[in-house]
């Protein structure tokens, strides 16, 4: 068994230092971002770089001002696709992982296919999804779900496998049924791994939505970026990309927040 660590708590920072702590934590990220912005500005201002091809940060800010209504509208469409697709991926991924964990022939059969499926280029699938799910939100959800399904499933599976053998033996010897072991021991123990899979899924989900929208959509950021590119509206394209990155970071933070709620023992530094 692992050593008992529940009493070792982090020393709370004195109240006066609170803003300093925040500053220390986010200063490197802010500095890097600032550096990247300066580099971007510099490249955009170069004589040799055509301003139709590279928009400066100022022009992108301008696009946020001029197109805010359009950007907001399209972002909302994409956000819906991302959240719904992600939810489908989580349900399907956790379900598939549990099924594969419980039924090992299923695992032997499905796992290699699961890995192989990741090599299929998305643009081959896009027309098939349209054929299967029509032209509404369906193919976009399928695309997001497909991209997010893999990290969720693989993480959940390895989480289920990582359970302390001693603990498993103990609960079994105490007469717990297979499902009870799953519910009381394996599922809680796999949560930290599941959440690391979810973090990856959250960040790549926006890519799925963009692919889905480029393959025929009436609205959405993916379409806006594709069409903007086609119309040489570079500032608008960059604005769309900025929103996508914010969306990905936001989803990542949301997953981290859910993890704090769901896996409090991890934060406290204890074991199950």
């Amino acid at each position: 068994m692992r050593p008992y660590r529940a009493n070792i708590k982090r020393r709370p920072a004195p109240r006066g230092d609170f803003s300093m702590t925040i500053l220390k934590r986010y200063l490197p990220a802010a500095a890097l971002l600032a550096l990247a912005l300066v580099a971007w500005w510099w490249i955009a201002s170069l004589e040799a770089v055509d301003d139709l091809l590279v928009a400066s940060p100022g022009e992108v800010l301008g696009a946020f001002g001029d197109d805010h209504e359009l950007l907001l509208e399209q972002s909302w469409v994409t956000l819906q696709e991302v959240l719904l697709g992600l939810a489908i991926a989580v349900v399907a991924g956790v379900g598939a992982a549990v099924a594969m964990h419980l039924v090992s022939p299923l695992r032997d059969a499905a796992y290699p296919l699961l890995v192989a499926s990741q090599a299929i280029p998305i643009f081959v699938l896009a027309p098939l999804f349209v054929l299967a799910f029509g032209f509404g939100i369906g193919p976009k959800l399928a695309m997001v779900a497909l991209i997010c399904f893999f990290p969720v499933t693989v993480a959940m599976l390895s989480g289920l496998d990582s359970v302390d053998r001693e603990l498993l033996r103990l609960t079994r010897s105490l007469g717990a049924s297979r499902l009870r072991v799953l519910r009381l021991v394996e599922l809680p123990a796999s949560l930290p791994q599941l959440f690391s899979g979810l973090r990856i899924a959250a960040t790549v989900s926006v890519i799925g939505a963009v692919f889905g929208e480029v393959a025929g959509a009436d609205a959405g950021l993916g379409r806006l970026i594709f069409l903007g590119n086609n119309q040489l509206q570079t500032p608008r394209v960059y604005a769309g990309v900025v929103i996508l990155t914010v969306m990905a970071v936001g989803l990542f933070a949301l997953v981290a927040l859910l993890e704090r709620l769901a896996v409090p023992w991890k934060r406290q530094g204890g074991t199950i």
Binding site: D50, L52, L53, L70, E73, Q74, W76, V77, L79, Q80, L83, L84, L86, A87, I88, V90, V91, F123, A126, P127, F129, V130, L131, G134, F135, G136, I137, P139, R183, L184, L187, P188, L191, A215, G216, A217, D218, R223, L224, F226, L227, G228, N229, N230, Q231, L232, Q233, L258, E259, L261, A262, V263, P264
Partner: protein, 340 residues
């Protein structure tokens, strides 16, 4: 908090979030039975000025007048329109004459029933600094293409007619990035951009592009955009297709009378389009949307089509077909054919 709750809580939160979002943004399911006759049209690309006549007909209610509830869809990929119409997934699709002929060459059961844009839009575009005024100026230059075989053949024909040694011209596949590779000076010229779209765009951005239309440089003329139907559905669907083309004829005339009818409808349905670009593009495209003198709307010249097939055969782009006979019909055009 019990362990179960720890697991259940985030799941619930996520599900609730998803459901909430889903409920707000519920889309109308197009599987629902329709009383009006649904007619699905798949475009060749994202909506743009080439489609202004379609939007004009829709805005004016000309489709409704003939009992058609037209739904406009965008293709998931460039090959989709012909595939989907051949599979019977859509009633009608917009594609390109060369693509139609290549599909017929592989015995895909489709047929072109009318021209939307009756001349080539494909062009060779360059910036003034490259100094390409005539095809002969291409010697020693790099030309970006989209990697489409028949467009590479256009380039060879253009060079051949201008007596330029093809070894002196470098072709580079730039995929979808025609305009950007030109602006970034990665290529001296591009072949594949439409003069009524990319050309107008560069003009509006003050880049003063030099444009050579391929039909002016030795490539036989063809219908850039055509309406493609399923050949096996022609007997059954003939009435509806005829009705559609009739409404298109009226829509195109309405567009001529007042271009704003089409442009406003196009822009309203697609808020991410650049209004300035689309307006100018409609203006320069309009003559090619309108029927040629003395011909019905949508007329496809069988002799032009045959000449194009000959050119394609010479360039080994088609193998089995020798004429365009099986690829087109004018019988469904307004005032044409046995069923008028």
């Amino acid at each position: 908090m019990t362990r179960l709750a720890r697991i259940a809580l985030p799941t619930l939160v996520l599900t609730a979030l998803a459901l909430g979002v889903g409920a707000c943004g519920e889309k109308k399911d197009d599987l629902a039975p329709e009383s009006a006759e649904k007619f699905v049209l798949m475009l060749d690309f994202f909506p743009n000025a080439d489609h202004a006549g379609i939007y004009a007909a829709q805005a004016k209610g000309y489709f409704e007048d003939v009992g058609l509830d037209v739904e406009i869809r965008q293709p998931p990929d460039p090959a989709a329109p012909i595939k989907q119409v051949a599979a019977g997934q859509v009633d009608l699709a917009i594609s390109y004459e060369p693509e139609v002929l290549q599909a017929r060459d592989r015995d895909v059961r489709i047929v072109s029933i009318g021209a939307l844009v009756r001349e080539p839009l494909t062009s060779i575009q360059s910036l003034p600094s490259a100094d390409i005024k005539t095809p002969a100026d291409l010697a020693g230059k790099t030309v970006g293409t989209a990697g489409i075989p028949y467009q590479s053949a256009y380039l060879q024909t253009v060079l051949d007619k201008a007596r330029v040694n093809p070894d002196k011209v470098k072709e580079r596949n730039v995929g979808f990035n025609l305009a950007s590779s030109l602006l970034a000076k990665k290529v001296d010229a591009t072949l594949g951009g439409f003069w009524n779209y990319e050309g107008v765009q560069l003009q509006q951005e003050g880049r003063d592009p030099q444009i050579i239309k391929i039909q002016d440089a030795g490539v036989p003329t063809y219908n850039e955009l055509v309406f493609v139907a399923n050949a096996d559905a022609l007997d059954r669907e003939g009435g509806r297709l005829r009705a559609f083309l009739g409404a298109m004829s009226r829509g195109t005339l309405a567009l001529e009378r007042n271009p704003d009818t089409g442009i406003d409808a196009l822009l309203k349905a697609n808020k991410d389009l650049d209004p300035k670009l689309q307006r100018e593009s409609v203006k320069v495209t309009l003559p090619l949307l309108l029927p040629a003198k003395g011909r019905p709307y949508g007329y496809q010249d069988p002799r032009e089509w045959d000449a194009f097939v000959s050119w394609m055969r010479e360039n080994r782009l088609v193998k089995t077909i020798t004429t365009a006979e099986s690829a087109l019909t004018n019988d469904l055009l307004p005032g044409e054919g046995p069923g008028k």
